[in-house]
């Protein structure tokens, strides 16, 4: 019986086009059907063939939200992978490879080498594709799993391609399984049974599904890594769910189309990455000025400019804070994980509708392209949908309607086009209550001031509409780790490692960036012994923001900007290092070169 601590990481490496996704997906499905948790991270390049892809699949009995620190099993599909990664395996780990084509190099004592003579085993020279399936079979044995699980999975996966293809794949997989039984030693702890079967989703799928649950009826996008998964899910589901999905000529068009659709009363959303978001920003200001609620998602990648399209970073905080010219109010939120991203979408739409303003979600490649297990019963498919003060029906007697009526709350009831008796014009120029322009024929400082204050007043107390961050973990810890967005999960694991090393730490995970809970954050951090900010960028964007909002400066900083996400030990090492030298900046070394 398992002690509940099963925690296993395997990696598949090769070049683009070698079919890494397929064995990865097959394994993922087997794992979640057993009710085990999954966190995968795919390191790749912006290339369709060639390069080096390294898919890490972490499997655990408890929920894990990072790809972890160690590697238990490596499947090298090419020599390059072997050269890069074998040296990083520790005692007890296993390396599988096609011995017809790949030779191992130096490795630590206790690493089990598992050569697979693919040509002999399959009686075929088509080693290129067969080696994945042979290896899958061998992995099943190493993991202590019945071959039938793989057989079932292959049946489902290849059913559409016909019986011959299924049979051939099962034959090849069985050859690998049998060879492993005869030659390799299984891992001491076989993969246990978990609880109820789980589902799998990526963060992008979670964002798209969150939109669907929130009642999004218009989605537009221009393809841009790492945000394109949202478009794919929306396009795939558009007809079933009655969602208008459009791929547009550029992100300027995307954003303005979304604002136009939102103006009709449809909930409208778009996703992009930093470069596309830059093109969208003028429209975000337009949505604020016209007071049209809509949601813009920026899935951050390493920048600036084209940057590293397939690598992660948290470098767009200041871009989001400064998105669009002028001085205006909006929401900015950075979800902590895939499920949180899902829940954030309907919540943000309700807020945007309530205050008639744009909302920005800052995701990143790590959340959006990672694939995670999820318990379907944890997903709220029917979140509250609150459209705010929306007028969709009227009569011809509504002449007194003022679109931008100067109300005590600042919120003016919003009539959608097509409503009788509420005819009005919305304008990106400054305007009065009746939407008459204050910019061209006349300007009026008193009206301008009133309009600015009306829009700003909507946000009085807005911070109380959202949950403030709270310290999680042991009280009175030596160190409080402060992160924002996707670092929450990996910081949790770093805190566990620190505890094992005798350092008590807790976490303040920031999700809402605007409005910012300055009072609560100040209270939490001034009562902390010391705090260290962890973020995936060079300059410490959040550290500067925090200082601006609270006046507080951190004891130390752990920053990573090499394109790869934090592993738990990077943070634990950083904390120990900083404690030993009284603060400063720690930049972890990325051991895995991908």
């Amino acid at each position: 019986m398992s002690d509940g601590n099963f925690d296993f990481a395997l990696a598949i490496g090769g070049e683009a086009g070698q079919g890494i996704a397929t064995p990865g997906d097959t394994l993922a499905r087997i794992v979640v059907r057993r009710g085990l948790h999954l966190s995968t991270y795919n390191a790749y390049q912006s290339i369709i063939r060639g390069g080096h892809i390294f898919l890490t699949v972490r499997i655990a009995e408890r929920e894990v939200r990072s790809h972890g620190d160690k590697l238990d099993m490596l499947l090298a599909l090419n020599q390059d992978t072997m050269n890069r990664h074998l040296r990083l395996l520790g005692s007890g780990a296993a390396a599988l490879y096609n011995s017809d084509a790949i030779s191992p190099g130096d490795h630590a004592d206790g690493v089990q080498l598992c050569p697979l003579p693919v040509n002999d085993l399959t009686g075929s020279q088509r080693a290129g594709l067969n080696q994945n399936t042979v290896a899958l079979g061998a992995m099943m044995h190493l993991l202590g799993l019945d071959f039938e699980l793989l057989e079932t999975s292959i049946n489902q996966q290849f059913a559409r391609k016909g019986e011959d293809v299924v049979n051939e794949n099962v034959r090849v997989a069985l050859a690998g399984y049998t060879h492993a039984q005869e030659n390799f030693t299984p891992f001491p702890m076989p993969m246990p049974e978990g609880g109820e079967p789980l589902g799998v989703w990526s963060g992008n799928e979670a964002l798209a599904m969150g939109g669907a649950a929130a009642g999004v009826k218009f989605y537009a996008a221009y393809p841009m890594s790492p945000s394109t998964g949202v478009l794919h899910w929306m396009a795939q589901n558009a007809r079933n769910l009655g969602i208008m999905v459009r791929q547009v000529e550029d992100e300027i068009g995307v954003a303005n189309m979304v604002v136009g659709a939102a103006h009709t009363g449809a909930r409208a959303m778009c996703a992009t990455s930093g470069g596309g978001f830059a093109l969208m920003t003028e429209a975000i200001g337009a949505a604020a000025m016209m007071e049209i609620p809509c949601v813009f998602i920026n899935v951050q990648r390493a920048g600036p400019s084209t940057g590293v399209p397939t690598k992660t970073e948290q470098g767009d905080l200041w871009q989001a804070l400064g998105a669009s010219q002028g001085d205006f109010e909006r929401f900015i939120v950075s979800p902590k994980n895939a499920l949180d991203a899902y829940n954030t979408v309907p919540e943000l739409f309700n807020l945007a509708d309530k205050l008639q303003c744009p909302g920005i979600i800052l995701s990143d490649l790590l959340i959006s392209e990672g694939r995670y297990s999820v318990q379907p019963s944890d997903i709220d498919f029917y979140p509250v949908i609150d459209r705010g003060e929306l007028i969709t029906e009227g009569t011809s007697n509504g002449d007194a309607y003022l679109r931008y009526k100067d109300t005590p709350s600042g919120v003016s009831p919003r009539a959608v086009p097509g409503t009788e008796g509420h005819v009005h014009t919305v304008a990106t120029d400054e305007h009065d209550e009746d939407s008459m322009l204050l910019s061209d024929e006349f300007t009026n400082p008193h009206r301008r001031r009133a309009s600015v204050e009306k829009r700003a007043r909507k946000f009085d107390g807005a911070a109380s509409l959202i949950a403030p961050p709270e310290i999680e973990g042991p009280a009175n810890a030596e160190v409080t780790l402060v992160g924002w967005g996707s670092t929450a999960g990996v910081i949790d694991e770093a805190i566990e490692q620190l505890a094992e090393r005798g350092v008590t730490a807790n976490q303040l995970a920031i999700k809402w960036l605007l409005p910012f809970h300055s009072e609560e954050v100040t209270a939490a951090l001034t009562s902390a012994n010391r705090f260290i900010i962890v973020e995936n960028n060079y300059s410490g964007q959040f550290a500067r923001y925090l200082r601006g909002e609270t006046g507080l400066s951190a004891y130390g900083h752990i920053r990573k900007y090499d394109g790869e996400p934090f592993a738990p030990h990077h943070i634990a090492d950083g904390v120990q290092d900083l404690l030993g030298r009284d603060g400063g900046v720690f930049v972890p070394y990325q051991e895995v070169i991908v």
Binding site: E249, N256, F381
Partner: protein, 293 residues
């Protein structure tokens, strides 16, 4: 309930235009108001979407729903409106700089998609609101504040561009002939698909080359010459003429061979998405879960 026939006067906005006296845009506004009334439309059934520029102030002067959006973005915004609520009559208005310059990419793709939007461009061949710089339709040699020695760039031809990009109703009007322009706009609104009506709308302040007199002396109507608007090649040939004879009228109209985006988009078969409230049904949620497992 009896429907009262509205007149152009009923489409008059709350404020008077701030255009210069003699501006061509008055004739365009007048034609739009007449077209709306003559088609029996009601103000709340229409939305007029514009960008930025003198002519883009038009939504404020017409009694319909309006959106005075960003510079160059009227067609993107209008496409969003139309695809979210296709029951609305969507009219986009603006100038040559707004539509063919900064908004050129959207112009190309809105035509290609054949979105059911009527796009009325007040083409004065100059940037007026910024006090007179060269525009995408300024003639080569034209002297403006940004080309004080004469422009050395060739202009875009909106008519041939629209036809090549896939627009299915392409016309050119002249703001000095309101009756004629009204009919072109009515045809564009009734047409199912993207309609461009490029209008010579002289800027009396900053373009002293392309004046009312310039056009009055040269303009000829296609319909007077038996032009076959189903013939795109003939349409392009006529549209390229720029000299002693300049044609206005309906250059090109593809009446049925190419469906509008509204007609082609299956998601709209159950009505406008803007009127669908709520999130997922239980059946939809179950299907999503099945796919995740």
């Amino acid at each position: 309930m009896t429907t009262i026939q509205l007149t152009a006067r009923d489409f008059k906005g709350k404020v008077d235009p701030d255009w210069c006296p003699g501006c061509g845009d008055f004739g365009v506004l007048n034609s739009l108001q007449r077209a709306a009334a003559e088609l029996g439309l009601r103000p709340h059934e229409i939305i007029t979407v514009s960008g930025i520029g003198c002519s883009s102030n038009l939504p404020g002067y017409i009694n319909t729903y309006g959106a005075h959006t960003l510079h160059g973005r009227s067609l993107a915004f209008a496409t969003g409106v139309k695809m979210a609520n296709h029951e609305l009559t969507v009219i986009a208005t603006g100038g040559d700089g707004d539509g063919y310059g900064i908004g050129g990419n959207h112009f190309t793709h809105t035509a290609r998609r054949n979105v059911d939007v009527t796009y009325v461009v007040m083409n004065n061949q100059i940037y007026g609101l910024t006090t007179g710089q060269v525009s995408p339709t300024s003639r080569i040699g034209q002297k403006t504040k940004s080309t004080p020695f004469g422009s050395v760039e060739y202009p875009i031809n909106p008519i041939t561009s629209a036809i090549m990009n896939g627009a299915t109703y392409v016309a050119r009007g002249y703001s000095g002939d309101v009756r004629h322009l009204t009919e072109l706009i009515k045809g564009g609104i009734e047409h199912q698909g993207f309609a461009l009506i490029d209008v010579f709308s002289p800027c009396v302040t900053f373009n002293l080359d392309n004046t009312h007199n310039f056009f009055k002396d040269r303009i000829k109507k296609l319909e007077d010459e038996g032009h076959d608007y189903g013939d795109w090649a003939a349409a392009c040939e006529k549209a390229m003429l720029w000299g002693d004879e300049i044609y206005i009228g309906k250059f090109f109209h593809m009446e049925s061979d190419k469906e509008s985006l509204t007609a082609l988009e299956p998601v709209l078969r159950d009505g406008p998405v803007a009127k669908r409230t709520g999130g997922l049904t239980e059946e939809q949620a179950q299907r999503i879960v099945q796919r995740m497992m």
